[in-house]
């Protein structure tokens, strides 16, 4: 394989890669997932406390605790707040104040808008792909 061909193939791949990357950066993702200011604070707090080490969102995250994608619609707001305040026998209490608890709840609400935690709710198509 000559150097010219190698450079040509490399440049072609780079063109495709950067084109795809910038297309994805600009893509209009589901607008119902756009977080409010409160939910954005909740997301930052979620990260600061490293909640993802144990919990999953959209099936991505740790495996020790449950997936919380749809926790907002399956449990009451009060139930979530109680867990956040007291912790569980596995999860430590993170000493969050009321305002911080509300931020996390707002974040979980924004995820619940389009997320599906139970994969059984997704459809498997004949071509091997899946559909919501």
């Amino acid at each position: 394989m000559s150097d010219k061909i190698k450079v040509f193939v490399l440049l072609g791949l780079l063109f495709l890669f950067f084109g795809y990357s910038f297309y994805l950066y600009k893509l209009n993702y589901s607008p119902e997932n756009s977080a409010t200011a409160l939910a954005d604070k909740g997301k930052k707090l979620w990260q600061a406390k490293n909640c993802g080490a144990c919990h999953q969102i959209y099936g991505l995250g740790g495996y020790l605790g449950p997936d919380l994608t749809n926790i907002y619609s399956t449990r009451s707001k009060e139930h979530i707040k109680a867990f956040l305040h007291t912790g569980t026998n596995i999860m430590p209490a993170f000493n969050l104040n009321d305002s911080e608890v509300s931020q996390i709840v707002a974040y979980l609400k924004s995820i619940d808008a389009t997320g599906i935690a139970a994969p059984s709710r997704l459809k498997i198509k004949n071509d091997g792909s899946i559909e919501r």
Binding site: S34, K49, L60, Y63, P119, S120
Partner: protein, 450 residues
């Protein structure tokens, strides 16, 4: 293909146990830290709530993950620096090489200590405070300059040189891309944020794999005594296919997200053929080298063969997980963890250790026997460890698909306990095996120096 004279070949593939060794020693200590934190984490699966108030899982997990990533990165940098110094006679800048090392050490120590104080980045999976990315980025820029300046030009270079150049650049790009979440326009839409996050992290693994697989091809040339592989069409086909995978196969992480369907199709189609080609190359090479050469590089050879086995096992899982209809079952289960463990321990770590043994050039029979014993213990335990995770994953997949709303999460986790116990025991035994390997290597070097 460039045909080298015997003395030129010897020079290009000479032993050099100076450049990169400080990287490798720190990396090996990080490997031991990875195992220690991994065992602590596994205990928390078996005894839920253990260390809940003093050393809970949200601290243990990043300590384990970051130690593992830094073991891979630091050793890969050390190996590439070492091999590059052999190929080109010397590195372009010794100062940049030293500064890269100091910056890495500062970053690694600060990151690991920050977890103990509860300072996190909170991203899945490799995370730390974004400020601490600055020394890593700076160190990596030094590395890129040194790699490119040492190589000089593209003309008639073997495939491993192309892989090193691509790997260093793509790692930096994807690492920077993983911080786009700091910009509100990327962060405030959770689907966009997760798409870009997994795009960057998926490709980042491909970036460091380029460094490791490139080094494995250099080592194959060295052991076989011929450069025919690194200039072959199949080697360049592997390289471009690997690059293609690095760029586009990350979508399997996010099949379940509400994203446009073509992202799913692109990833599905690209799949993970890179490992298949590498396996083929190693297989071809294995049958071509003669016994004398194999025995001269026996430790490197054994670790390469071990990695070859894990390439095949991981490949089976990877192909399955890249099919959306199967991914729906494996997503969010321990099967994903099994795949990660197979790739990081079975492939990356075994390949990296094969380079380490090549660099330290061990020929003492007793040392070889002890390290080989450590390898066999690790291999056997790792297989049980991997199998335990797969069984736990299958049971969780069954729960996710059939009993998600009827059986509580805690009850499901309780049914997985026997597999968590076998995963813990196998993990401890595999760690003992790796400890034997690392300790013997350290001991060998101390004795050699004294």
């Amino acid at each position: 293909m460039v045909v080298l004279k015997d003395n030129e070949f010897k020079k290009k593939f000479s032993f050099n146990n100076i450049v990169g060794t400080q990287y490798i020693f720190v990396a090996l200590i990080l490997l031991l830290c990875t195992l220690l934190f991994g065992i602590l984490g596994a205990f928390q699966y078996v005894i839920p709530g253990l260390f809940r108030n003093i050393f809970s899982f949200e601290k243990v997990r990043p300590l384990h993950v970051s130690s593992a990533v830094f073991w891979i990165l630091l050793s890969a940098c050390g190996v590439v620096n070492n091999y590059l110094a052999s190929v080109k006679g010397k590195l372009w800048s010794n100062k940049l090489y030293i500064w890269q090392w100091y910056l890495f050490i500062i970053a690694i120590l600060t990151i690991l200590v920050s977890y103990f104080f509860g300072i996190f980045g909170g991203r899945e999976y490799w995370e730390f405070s974004p400020v601490l990315a600055i020394p890593i980025i700076t160190a990596w820029i030094f590395f890129i300059i040194n790699v490119f300046k040492s190589i000089g030009n593209f003309h008639n270079q073997p495939v491993y040189i192309w892989m090193w150049m691509t790997g260093v650049v793509f790692f930096l790009f994807t690492f920077l891309e993983s911080y786009l979440w700091l910009i509100p326009a990327f962060r405030t839409n959770v689907v966009k944020d997760m798409t870009i996050q997994w795009k960057s992290y998926g490709s980042m693994v491909g970036g460091w794999n380029m460094l490791i697989y490139g080094s494995s091809i250099y080592l194959l040339d060295k052991i076989s005594g011929t450069e025919k592989y690194s200039y072959s069409k199949i080697a360049f086909a592997l390289y471009f296919l690997g690059l293609f995978n690095l760029m586009f196969n990350w979508g399997h992480h996010i099949y379940t997200l509400p994203i446009p369907k073509y992202i799913q199709y692109i990833s599905y189609a690209v799949s993970m053929t890179e490992l298949l080609l590498l396996g083929r190359i190693i297989y071809n090479w294995k049958t071509s080298i003669n016994t004398a050469k194999k025995h001269y590089h026996i430790l490197s050879y054994r670790f390469l063969v071990a990695a070859d086995v894990w390439i095949l096992l991981t490949l089976l899982l990877a192909i399955a997980m890249s099919i959306p209809a199967i991914n729906i079952y494996t997503h969010g289960t321990h099967i994903t963890v099994a795949h990660t463990m197979g790739a990081t321990i079975g492939i990356n770590s075994f390949l990296l250790l094969s380079f380490v043994f090549d660099i330290f050039n061990i020929h003492k029979q007793k040392t070889i026997h002890t390290i080989t014993a450590g390898l066999y213990v690790t291999l056997a335990a790792l297989f049980i460890f991997w199998l335990s995770l797969i069984i736990a994953g299958i049971l969780k997949a069954n729960w996710q698909m059939n009993h998600y709303n009827t059986i509580p999460f805690g009850v499901m986790m309780h049914t997985l306990q026997p597999y968590f116990i076998s995963f813990l025991i196998a993990g401890i035994i595999a760690s003992i095996g790796i400890f034997i390997i690392v300790f013997t290597l350290f001991n060998h070097n101390i004795k050699q120096k004294s």
